[in-house]
């Protein structure tokens, strides 16, 4: 088939393709706008830094920094451990969360080899996410001295309720665009499939190819205008008019 053929085929099934695209986009759109809960994210930053010894004040000690970075990885594990989770749940009963559920919602990340830890909570309510993440940060800072026997965690920044609450799950517009592209491909694919499956005669080429017979005439579907008897121009009586001269009598 040639490009022209493809275009003709797509134009022929335009209604099918269009309705598939419209249907899929509508369903995805409605699902995204009305039935997908919006998820919010709140982040607190902690810094792991040993209080320098009084005699070395004002000097950044390389080995101390390295130790802290190494510690950060252990701290990530400690934070999601039940030692911290149970304490959070016990200290902040108004969060109404179980330790295991909390551990699942919690994400702890470090940006490369740095002493800073990002503690992130996702929740359907931005307020609750902020409260929870701050609670975790506070409890962690409070518990570390008793677990590690050193006091080196500082809360760098807490999550704030004043920040604008932006949902983090993807934009409905992007979802609808993806749905549009996918359904368009699907529709075109279906149009080609139907064409392949359609084994009826549709044009002169089909007849010549399949039957090896000449096509004497193509009679188009009669429309209402053709069937309407138009008395002003042609009546049965005037039919044998002279313009059809006998050619071989």
């Amino acid at each position: 088939m040639q490009l022209k053929e493809y275009i003709r085929l797509i134009r022929k099934r335009m209604w099918l393709i269009g309705s598939i695209v419209l249907l899929v986009c509508t369903v995805v759109g409605i699902k995204n706008v009305y039935f997908t809960p919006q998820i919010y994210e709140a982040t607190a930053k902690l810094i792991i830094n040993q209080t320098p010894r009084p005699d070395r004040a004002g000097v950044v000690d390389y080995s101390v920094v390295q130790t802290n970075i190494a510690l950060t990885n252990s701290y990530k594990q400690i934070m999601i451990s039940s030692a911290i989770m149970d304490q959070v749940v016990a200290s902040f009963p108004d969060l109404k969360v179980t330790p295991s559920a909390l551990a699942q919602k919690l994400r702890v990340n470090t940006a490369g080899d740095s002493q800073v830890m990002d503690v992130t909570i996702r929740d359907l309510s931005y307020t609750k996410a902020v409260k929870t993440v701050n609670a975790v940060a506070k409890v962690f800072k409070r518990q570390i001295p008793s677990i590690m026997k050193m006091d080196n965690v500082t809360i760098l920044s807490e999550a704030s309720l004043n920040d604008p609450a932006v949902p983090v799950n993807s934009n409905p517009a992007i979802q609808i665009f993806i749905a549009f592209a996918t359904s368009l491909l699907l529709g075109i694919g279906l149009a080609f499939l139907l064409e392949v499956l359609d084994d009826t005669f549709k044009n002169e080429e089909d007849i010549e190819k399949e039957l090896g017979l000449p096509t004497l005439s193509l009679i188009t579907k009669m429309k209402k205008e053709d069937k309407r008897s138009d008395s002003s121009t042609t009546t049965p009586k005037q039919v044998g008019e002279g313009q059809y001269a006998a050619i071989n009598q």
Partner: protein
């Protein structure tokens, strides 16, 4: 004359329409497909019912009549005759009366209201249509009719349902195969064609019927012509 003519008879009701032009194209192509031995007796055949045999043969008959030829259109579909509906004729007498030796053919020929075009309807349904059509009386009748008419056109039952179509094809100079576009499976039409070839019928060609308006080249040509 206040005759009730079926609105599918466009060649008569709407002679200038593009569909009428397509029927005239059919007539011309039949004439060109046999220069040396003119085709006098023709039938329309189709694999299945409802492909448009009667409409095709009726319109073709009108275009022949408009050309000034003496045309006889016969309803050879003795099972579900319908030609009389096309021309608003009555079917209480007809071919079966002649074949049963009850009437002479001159008594059953009816005027259609179109100049030069006469019709013989099927008549009452017989119990044995295939035997009637293959009778010697039928052959004799045809020989006689050929002397009175330039063109004889026959409407037939569907090929794959009854043997009648094949019997009639043996009497004809040519067979026009009507195929309804986009409806009938290729295999079905191929089978009908094979049946016709087995009885050595001469298939003049195919009329592709009910083609959608937008995608025919002929139609596009027609529109251009109408613009000028």
């Amino acid at each position: 004359m206040p005759r009730l003519i079926n609105n599918q008879l466009v060649t008569s009701l709407h002679a200038q329409s593009s569909v009428s032009e397509e029927y005239r194209m059919l007539r011309t192509n039949i004439q060109f497909s046999s220069i040396d031995e003119p085709i006098e007796v023709m039938m329309v055949a189709s694999a299945q019912a409802g492909e448009g045999r009667t409409v095709t043969i009726s319109n073709l008959a009108v275009t022949y009549a408009q050309e000034g030829k003496k045309v006889l259109i016969m309803d050879m579909d003795l099972r579900r005759s319908s030609l009389h509906h096309m021309f608003g004729l009555r079917n209480h007498t007809g071919l079966t009366r002649v074949l049963a030796n009850q009437q002479a053919w001159q008594d059953v020929v009816q005027e259609t209201g179109i100049d030069h075009l006469h019709a013989i309807t099927a008549g009452p349904n017989p119990p044995n249509p295939s035997e009637m059509l293959s009778s010697r009386r039928m052959n004799a009748l045809l020989v006689e009719l050929k002397e009175h008419y330039d063109v004889i056109l026959m409407d037939t039952p569907p090929l794959l349902s009854f043997p009648d179509g094949l019997i009639i094809s043996a009497m004809c100079d040519g067979v026009i195969l009507v195929v309804q576009a986009g409806k009938v499976k290729k295999d079905v039409v191929k089978k009908a064609k094979a049946n016709l070839e087995r009885v050595k019928a001469r298939i003049l060609g195919v009329v592709l019927n009910n083609v959608k308006r937008s995608n025919t080249r002929a139609e596009r040509g027609m529109e251009e012509r109408n613009l000028t």
